[in-house]
């Protein structure tokens, strides 16, 4: 590729280029850049033109309607589980919302438990106890390396369908029941003045933010610390409790009860939701545990030793030295794990949990045949949800990021 040049040739070429300051215009990088980009514009333009014209021709040939008018049409099918009231005569637009809420529900449950599992097993990798360390390793290596679909099937077909029937339900203190048809939880039904307790909870949550800001300011000024965590927990539990005591407990518990062949009343968690939520939490939890382990491992041991040498207690070392630094590594990884959990929740289609993907790309697409509209509407929802997650996690990341001075 590279021919050895004699000294004369090198000199000659140097003379040529220095004598002739304006090289050929097609060797100018700017001209080339414009040329290539114009080429790309035309290439993409032709690509999209041919796709769109093909789509229109194909749709005309098969008689598929276009546009979003189907959203107003009556769907004519029922949905297994809905968070808002829904009847089979309602529209596709409402089905979209029902599915979206179900997706949000399973994602939120999954993210919550995956984070807990991930942090427990991630920290357990540093336990003093050999068996706990090994248990954490086994958990991560098993559940990370088995496809999520198989895990969903395992929980749904092998574990949850092996539960006893309604009459032999497993029960916890006659309030929580678990059988092959689902998990039955008691429900709180509020009375007249119940809104006071809800309002008190709201006040407590706002109060936590105010308290945190005040405590940080006081620590910056005086160096005194304030037990923010304990005070927050006391507020969240205490204020609503106080409101309940003052108003004389204006609520009653609705317990699930066996009537005929099944339990009624209370909150019913269908097995599809349970299987999907368990599988998502366990699978993503394994990845989060890896992230947490990596985060803690990234901190030099000198940090711990330095903290010990200035006399911090072990608990304070974790809280003030290790965790804040580990979070810098963990939070970006958490962000992508949460996003992939939301995307993976589409596996609901495999077991029939009515999430957005299942009710919309699954059933609505089949009934209307409008593939492009349904798929793109669904994709956009996942994009938006992931953007919201990304936005929140980036805010959180900025809070824990290293402030360089």
């Amino acid at each position: 590729m590279f021919k050895q040049k004699t000294l004369e040739e090198v000199k000659a070429s140097a003379r040529r280029s220095s004598g002739n300051s304006s090289a050929a215009f097609y060797n100018n990088p700017n001209v080339r850049a414009i040329f290539y980009q114009i080429l790309l514009v035309f290439g993409l333009g032709y690509f999209f033109y041919s796709i769109i014209s093909n789509v229109l021709a194909n749709m005309e040939a098969t008689g598929i309607k276009t546009g979003f008018s189907f959203l107003g049409a009556s769907a004519g099918y029922d949905v297994l589980m809905t968070l808002i009231s829904f009847e089979s005569t309602d529209t596709y637009g409402k089905i979209f919302i029902v599915g979206f809420l179900n997706t949000l529900l399973v994602s939120a449950i999954g993210i919550f438990f995956a984070t807990i599992l991930g942090f427990i097993f991630g920290v357990a990798a540093f336990s003093h106890n050999l068996l706990i360390r090994k248990a954490a390793l086994v958990y991560v290596e098993i559940f990370r390396n088995i496809p999520l679909l198989l895990q969903v099937f395992f929980w749904y077909f092998a574990v949850l369908s092996a539960l006893p029937g309604a009459r032999q339900s497993l029960s916890l203190g006659e309030t929580i029941f678990l059988n092959v048809r689902g998990l039955y939880l008691p429900k709180m039904v509020g009375g007249d003045l119940f809104w006071l307790a809800e309002a008190a909870l709201g006040v407590a949550i706002v109060g936590i933010f105010v308290l945190r800001r005040w405590a940080k300011k006081r620590q910056d000024e005086t160096g005194q610390q304030f037990p923010v965590l304990n005070a927050s927990i006391a507020m969240v539990i205490g204020l609503p409790l106080l409101a309940l005591i003052v108003t004389g407990f204006p609520f009653e518990m609705e317990y699930p009860a066996l009537k005929g062949f099944n339990y009624f009343g209370g909150i019913t968690v269908i097995p599809e939701l349970m299987a999907l939520a368990i599988a998502l939490s366990v699978y993503t939890g394994a990845f989060i545990a890896e992230a947490v382990r990596a985060g803690v491992q990234a901190i030099p041991h000198g940090q711990t030793e330095a903290a010990r040498s200035i006399g911090l207690k072990e608990k304070k070392i974790m809280q003030l030295i290790i965790v804040p630094q580990a979070m810098r590594v963990i939070v970006p990884l958490l962000n992508s794990e949460y996003q992939s959990l939301v995307k993976n929740s589409t596996l609901a289609a495999a077991i029939g949990y009515p999430d957005l993907f299942n009710v919309f790309v699954g059933t609505a697409l089949n009934q209307t045949g409008q593939a492009i509209e349904t798929i793109f509407m669904t994709i956009i929802v996942y994009f938006v949800v992931n953007m919201v997650i990304s936005f929140l996690m980036n805010r959180f990341n900025n809070a824990v990021a290293l402030v360089s001075r």
């Binding site: 088995i146 679909l149 092998a158």
Partner: protein, 366 residues
């Protein structure tokens, strides 16, 4: 004057080496730890023997039909009877040598990329890798040189998972490399097109991509063209993979020290000489662990093909479980078997990736 009273001798230091000290340190360092240790040991002692008994000692190993399963334990006969379908799907028995041939070729190419003499290893192995999917399509589908045509409807089983994953990542390789370059480019339009492409395919659920491949893509082709479903899904997987791999390569490009780019510029290499001769070899070396991790993700995601009705291994298992001659409830055996196959492959690859990371780490020569 009082008598001199020496202080009592201090006890000898606790032994810090040897098995006793090791056990004390790792298992019984505190009361809490001791309780946990005993708890875990009790749990293992309670549960391991029945599991071993079920899986090995009272399991049924030989036979060809369900009637052979007489003992209480696992019915491995089920796996035995269906093993052909689990691995090869419904591919005709007399043609199965073609699948085996492709597996052998795949292994040869993998071995080649590590063992060929260094001065032409890169060129030869890249050429071999890129040729492999085409050869695979030709051999598996047939229809030339006396080979019978085997319709893609008959392809299936675990080998389909392997081939789909391998064929997608290989073809995605050059594309993802271009997308990564595009994302680093100075040209604003090329850069924004690359960013949109990469973020689109990374941002959507892979299942919706499969649906695109199976129901939306046919609308994109000109009227009358009938592209095989498997090929459509393959196309979608290639796009999906090139989005992910582009991000892997982007990390690799960023990790090459800028001195390398500047040195290449200063010896007068052109853009493509610089990228192909200087930067790319270093990028591949740096990104190797991430490439393998991405491949593992893709490989696990090939099970999602079941949802659009492609008979990969999990779909084959479901078919086997609902077969009317095997209704004895062998779900546990079946899932365990597929678990083990996937776990062994994925875990093997992650071990391999760690080893490659170590051997390829030539930066620190001390």
């Amino acid at each position: 004057m009082k008598d001199f009273q020496p202080i009592a001798d201090r006890p000898a230091p606790v032994q810090t080496v040897g098995p006793v000290a090791w056990i004390r340190e790792n298992l019984f360092s505190s009361i809490g730890n001791s309780i946990v240790t005993l708890g875990i040991i009790a749990f293992l002692v309670y549960y391991i023997p029945p599991i071993l008994d079920w899986a090995f000692f009272s399991a049924n190993w030989s036979g060809t039909t369900e009637d052979a399963c007489v003992k209480d334990g696992a019915c491995w006969v089920f796996i035995n009877a269906w093993s052909y379908q689990f691995f090869y799907g419904t591919y005709p028995l007399e043609e199965v040598w073609r699948i085996n041939l492709m597996i052998v070729l795949l292994l040869i190419v993998i071995a080649m990329s590590f063992t060929l003499p260094k001065h032409y290893r890169m060129k030869a192995s890249i050429a071999a890798w890129l040729a492999l999917p085409l050869i695979g399509m030709a051999v598996l589908y047939g229809g030339w040189g006396g080979l019978e045509v085997v319709s893609t409807d008959l392809w299936g089983g675990f080998t389909l998972n392997v081939f789909m994953a391998a064929a997608s990542i290989i073809v995605a390789f050059p594309f993802s490399f271009l997308w990564a370059l595009g994302r680093r480019s100075q040209m604003p339009f090329i850069r924004s097109v690359s960013v949109i492409f990469i973020e689109f395919f990374r941002g959507v659920p892979v299942l919706s991509l499969f649906f695109m491949g199976s129901v939306m893509l046919p609308l994109f082709f000109a009227e009358g063209t009938n592209v095989d479903k498997l090929i459509r899904v393959w196309l979608v997987l290639i796009f999906f993979m090139s989005g992910y791999m582009a991000e892997v390569f982007r990390g690799g490009f960023a990790a090459v020290p800028s001195g390398q780019y500047e040195a290449a510029d200063s010896v007068g290499l052109s853009y493509w000489q610089k990228i192909l001769l200087i930067i790319l070899p270093q990028v591949i070396k740096i990104s190797m662990p991430n490439i393998l991790a991405t491949f593992v993700m893709l490989f696990k995601n090939t099970t999602f093909l079941l949802i659009i009705g492609i008979p990969e291994v999990v779909q084959t298992l479901q078919t086997a479980l609902s077969n009317s001659y095997w209704l004895g409830g062998h779900a546990l055996e079946g899932y365990l078997f597929v678990f083990l196959v996937f776990w062994a492959s994925c875990f093997g690859m992650s071990v391999l990736s760690r080893r490659i990371e170590r051997t390829m780490n030539t930066d620190k020569r001390d």
